[in-house]
Symmetry: D2
Subunit: 462 residues, 4 copies
């Protein structure tokens, strides 16, 4: 799939470690797929927190010099995407502020659904806002708390917000990781020698040689103190778990483990199920790279149709590509994908992708493939139709832009000009889960069954 | 004088003007001498304020593309220095925030002496701070105000702070310029056709072809509305005026008019008075460029001793100069100044400078001049001894670093190895004023007679 | 395979086209995999050639502004790698010079084996050299030619050199593409409306919507004049054809057609042959991405062993990665590849790669995979052992660094700590060719059977 | 004067010195006024020359990292301007080439008048040219020389060219500095401990703590070998000396010594002579900064009219200033100069400048000053009318652009709208020389009396 969704955010934390900022840099590097627009690290040295952040990829934002200035044995980090309207450097995270409890920094993944409502309330009593981010609301609530300890202040603040949050807080002497009671977003706990490490995905541990220990449980808070002692607590009211199934389908890196499932295996099973649900005769199964590859492989195995890399991705795609004035057919797609032309000549092909959002990209790919001589082009999507926007941390388009919210599958098929189009069923998607319960997932983007009512759509801090 | 003080800040505002952001860019460019570390502009278009700022010179921070994004017919701007410890981009101005009164941006020149005290109070009731800047306190107070109009909220906020402030506020539909009741820092009012323009110094008007109208009076607030209508008011309790005499001596550009005086003329008169107070025989009067030039010219005229440009300034001084490992004598000074060697051979010279802060630079200059063969080196300073730090917006060193706070003039003379050293007297400095009253000036840095008591030294937003 | 070889160069030319430089930019972008260290374009407007080049990726080197300055309806371009010792900007291409025949620019892919010898001769008669590149020799020979026309001068010059060259020359009114008589390096001819396009690989045509027409034949020269008329000639003595088989195995993009073969199909067949030559029982076939993927797929199909993406490539690898001080196991590999850990647990795996040069990377990958719990790790290489360096345009290491030049397969197996190691046989590799004759290929890197003797190794202009 | 001429070049060399490249960096920094468009350094380590150059100011071109790569104990450097049409990086110097004599680098100041003629000859025998620079001709001639030693080859080459050259050559083991027999351009010899230093002006020695020893004599060649031994020779036929008097008037830094004169003193004398030649009554003498300052001071002293800094230069002028769309009167001048407005009110002023080339800038300044209320504006030029272009290394406009070549003084006066306009007489200019003979100077730009006939105007390598 070709960047049809903006990725959400990735967060990281480590304490204590002699090279804390360097480790945060590496961790963010491994989490880069979760956000390419901005990156930041806050480290602590002698009780003073220092922040460095910027727009762009982790390797562009941080120079050796900048990393060296982030001294100390404790650090948190964040990668984020930013929507067109708000790619202000101010919105980059971690956010570092000072309040009566001292300095606090936070790296937040998720979206608080009552953020706008809380913000209005806070503004009414005179609060000022420097960013568009819902995470700033959280910091205001912490600052306003009369609790004696910062931990208690954080708990009090989190009890006032509703929605999705996996956060790592950094105070002058502690790292505090927390996952909301419904567990929308992932958060992993690892160890590296004496150090505790937190990360959105296990791939960050792999790169650091850290040991993955376990996922934070929904509603769990883990506090690491200056000496590295780790305490766990469950300070929130228990709620039904609603982990994001779209992480499995699209966001997470395939080489990871999340919510009890091995990501790549789950995707292959989705592909296999897709093949079972709608059998078909064809010459090749062709993945839309990169994220459709696992499902396509599963599809091919289950169907017995040969798998082929018919679409080659250009690995040098830069963000500031200069377009020619003259029209080139399917230019936007071709700059990223190129077909292996001869493969399609006279062949019936099944294209497997992991999502279909607006339909515009799929339409271009189908046409491109037909131009190469394919006689039949079948599109298979390893997710159910995306009919509803996400309010819990994924930057889906608005409902109006989601083609499946207003069109039947056959209408979409016609639009993308495919010979057939099938999505996996919701039940099929759930049947593929191996170790986790279907009830423990949020499927609102496919069902519209939002577990938390939302007043308005808040500016998401994903 | 060679950057012995960090410059303070410069502010600018214009409304309405079809090229508001471009005009702000030009205005800041003309005010560049007031701050070289960061620059920023906020413009307003369709009721939405947009901010662009960065570290470095105005011409480095703003590209054509960045300026084009600052649309609308109204803009404010700011140039600032930053002290070593806090050159964080977060501290750059204008600061743009959102609160119950909507978006507000401020460009502030000055220092609020009770900022730290107010900040502690605000933190206690749960406020969060994103910067080290005292200007943020001001925005919190405005946000907390229950006044109906933003103007009244600003007035209420300013009535709670003590100290020095010349500010231009930008709201979604107004520009509000204000100068504190004591008038520490300058603020000028000009017009450019139908537009109202505010700037720290008149040179900004010259570059824009704007007409200088008058200085804002101490305690005056001028409001410009969307259609360009201008209202003036005096909403604060009247207080004794205390304009900064150091602006005349050092900060302001010589080609300007401020506090009723022509800057260059005043400096020449200081030089002349210096010559009268301590007559001397010598072969040449030599300015320490650039800021000592006017006083030296006045000195030469009054004393009859020939004026000579014996020290040449290097105009290409960059901020990231790479030093050699091997020691070069007086390297730090030589990279900026080079003597006209033959001029000094066997001659008695009077060096005229406008200040002597730590004495280290003067010491290097005296040595450098002696190395060229000067037989007598006399140092003359066109200001009285700087014995006390400034708390009203100038980044003087701490008292301990001010050599005149703990050493007699003769001790300083010995330290800098001059044959003689004289400062202008405080009375002499005041006698040189032509159109303004000596009582209307703050001379605290020379007398320690601080008009406002200060609880602690706050992080100055100069 | 992970950048074990430096890629060689990519060349491009177009004439006439109203957006010639933009098309060259796009073409180079599609050829980026052939060289990431420098890129350049020369365009012609009103008979004057203008050059713009720089170090880095195409999208970094060219800004909109730079492209706009490359006016005219005719352009050539070049991407190159550069060896550590000579990544001087001077060596970037195209090289643009002036001589008695006027301005000439050249983009050259290949290596002239007698370049150093010719250079010594030229130096002896007083020539000066600005680069380390063998291409400069070619320009000297052209400049010295007494032929009346530039075409004849180019022919005369090329008749004096030996080795590999696919070149596009740009003169004030012509584009001249030429491929050496042995045809070592590829060169494709396409059309885009009235325009003639030349490119190293067909993928450049795909991106531009140009039609691939045919490959230039070994020894063919094609001249495009101002009006777009195209003439072909064969001005060189015919020689046995020796196309580089390593293009098929490793360099070329899989979505292309070259030397009569479809690249991806050939690679899959290599994988299949590899499976046939050395049958094996295992649980998974796992490609070393990205270039080992096609062969692994072919291997899996032929062997019936399931294919799995067990190694995930990080797509954000930057060139200036900041390493931590603390040692991380297999860091250099892990920053690029991460294993899907659970897949390996208790499994017997076959890793398929397309080459094994020094063995150090393979050794790290084998260890990484064993750390994930693999019980058996078999390495299969879809090329024969690389025993000899290339002198015809590929930057292989020196013979001493090629592990297969001095070690038996079993010794290599021990070094990389694999349970087994097999390479495809030379005969097997040739048997996989579908449309081209085994005799028409250069296999010197596997056999040491160099078709052209070389005096010394020249500085290659690949 | 405001950059009416492009500056010429500055050259530097040092050998042996443990920090040779750092010293070259500093030396070029001191010579920055001689060329702001490009800078470069070549250093030698273990017999290998390495070059680093780029476009922009010395402090922009060189980073710490780049300087560190320039290892070794020997270096040369160059700063240059570039005319609009040819600011190609290829034209930056030093030029480093390889030829039969090994590697040679040259930093050249001056212009070879027969360069184009020699280039045509060289092209005819097959030479290729990579730059537009006349210096490349020199390198070709050296490369072609059959002399045994490189010194002799250089002598042979220089004997074939005509014109202006001060050069420092760097070979694998020697530094060779040479000044043409007529001595058009300056070249200074200094020592720094055991090191020999060459520089265009003495200010480079001042910054390095090097001792100025003497000027190279016209026609002198100085060779420094690996151990630092220095030999001097005079290998060229003696010719009448023609040092550039315009260096005294405009180019050279005032704090230097050149051609036997102290630059600042000479300029003051020009000003005094100007006053004597055309007495006048006025209220103020006002310099056009920066280069008109010394002459204005001399004028004021001689005339008894008070000197005043009526025009203030903006020190932050960047090269990429963004202009507003709306017209601002005299914008181009105002961005650089601002008048001290009150000074001019009702006053008669004499503006003293050191040259008047096209008249456009003077015209703007006169208008700007009149707008401030000056009742009379008299312009005085401390040089004779510039009637002829320079072919010996100064980038004067073409003859058609030199207003004095086709207009009488009164016509120019009318054009610039001054009340009077006077230039110093040629005799007056010569009378001001103290230690050097009027015959030893080239005054061709004032007289048209060119000492060397020139075939066509060559692309100057100044």
């Amino acid at each position: 799939m070709l960047d049809k969704f903006k990725d959400e955010c990735g967060i990281f934390g480590i304490k204590p470690h002699p090279e804390a900022a360097n480790m945060a840099y590496l961790g963010l590097y491994a989490l880069q797929h979760r956000g390419q627009e901005a990156a930041g690290v806050v480290s602590e040295s002698d009780g003073v927190l220092t922040c460095s952040k910027g727009q762009g990829l982790v390797s562009d934002v941080f120079t050796r010099e900048k990393l060296q200035r982030l001294r100390g044995d404790s650090a948190i980090g964040h990668v984020r995407y930013s929507t067109a309207g708000s790619n202000r450097i101010e919105n980059a995270q971690p956010i570092l502020i000072t309040c009566q409890h001292g300095q606090i920094a936070v790296a937040h993944n998720g979206n608080l659904v009552n953020a706008m409502e809380m913000r209005r309330k806070l503004e009414k009593i005179g609060s000022i806002f420097n960013t568009d981010s819902d995470s700033e609301v959280l910091l205001h609530l912490i600052a306003k708390s009369k609790q004696e300890t910062l931990e208690d202040a954080i708990i009090e603040a989190l009890n006032q917000v509703e929605g999705a949050y996996s956060c790592v807080f950094h105070t002058k002497d502690k790292l505090i990781a927390v996952r909301d009671p419904r567990g929308f977003r992932p958060l992993m706990l690892g160890t590296l020698g004496e150090s505790t490490v937190f990360a959105s995905e296990t791939c960050a541990f792999d790169l650091l040689d850290a040991q993955f220990q376990r996922e934070l449980e929904p509603g769990e808070m883990v506090v690491v103190n200056r000496r590295g002692m780790r305490r766990s607590m469950k300070p929130f009211e228990e709620k039904p778990i609603r982990q994001c199934i779209f992480e499995h389908i699209y966001f997470a890196r395939p080489d990871g483990f999340m919510f009890g499932e091995h990501t790549q295996r789950y995707r292959e099973q989705l592909g296999a199920k897709l093949a079972e649900e709608n059998p078909l005769e064809a010459d090749y199964v062709i993945p839309v790279p990169d994220s459709g590859v696992s499902a396509a492989l599963g599809y091919a195995r289950a169907s017995g149709i040969p798998f082929a890399f018919g679409l080659i991705r250009n690995h040098y795609v830069g963000r500031t590509f200069i377009e020619p004035k003259q029209s080139i057919r399917h230019f936007g797609v071709k700059i990223k994908l190129n077909p292996v032309r001869h493969l399609f000549e006279g062949k019936r092909v099944v294209l497997v992708d992991d999502s279909l959002v607006r339909g515009t990209t799929s339409r271009k790919i189908v046409k491109m493939v037909r131009n190469c001589g394919a006689t039949e082009v079948h599109m298979r999507i390893s997710a159910p139709p995306t009919t509803h926007p996400c309010y819990y941390g994924i930057d889906t388009p608005t409902r109006g832009e989601l083609i499946a919210s207003s069109h039947s599958i056959d209408e979409i098929r016609k639009y993308i000009e495919a010979d057939s189009l099938e999505y996996i069923s919701i039940q099929g998607m759930l049947d593929c889960l191996n170790n986790s319960s279907p009830e423990s997932y949020c499927k609102a983007c496919f069902t519209g069954d939002y577990v938390i009512p939302f007043p308005h759509q808040a500016g998401a801090s994903v």
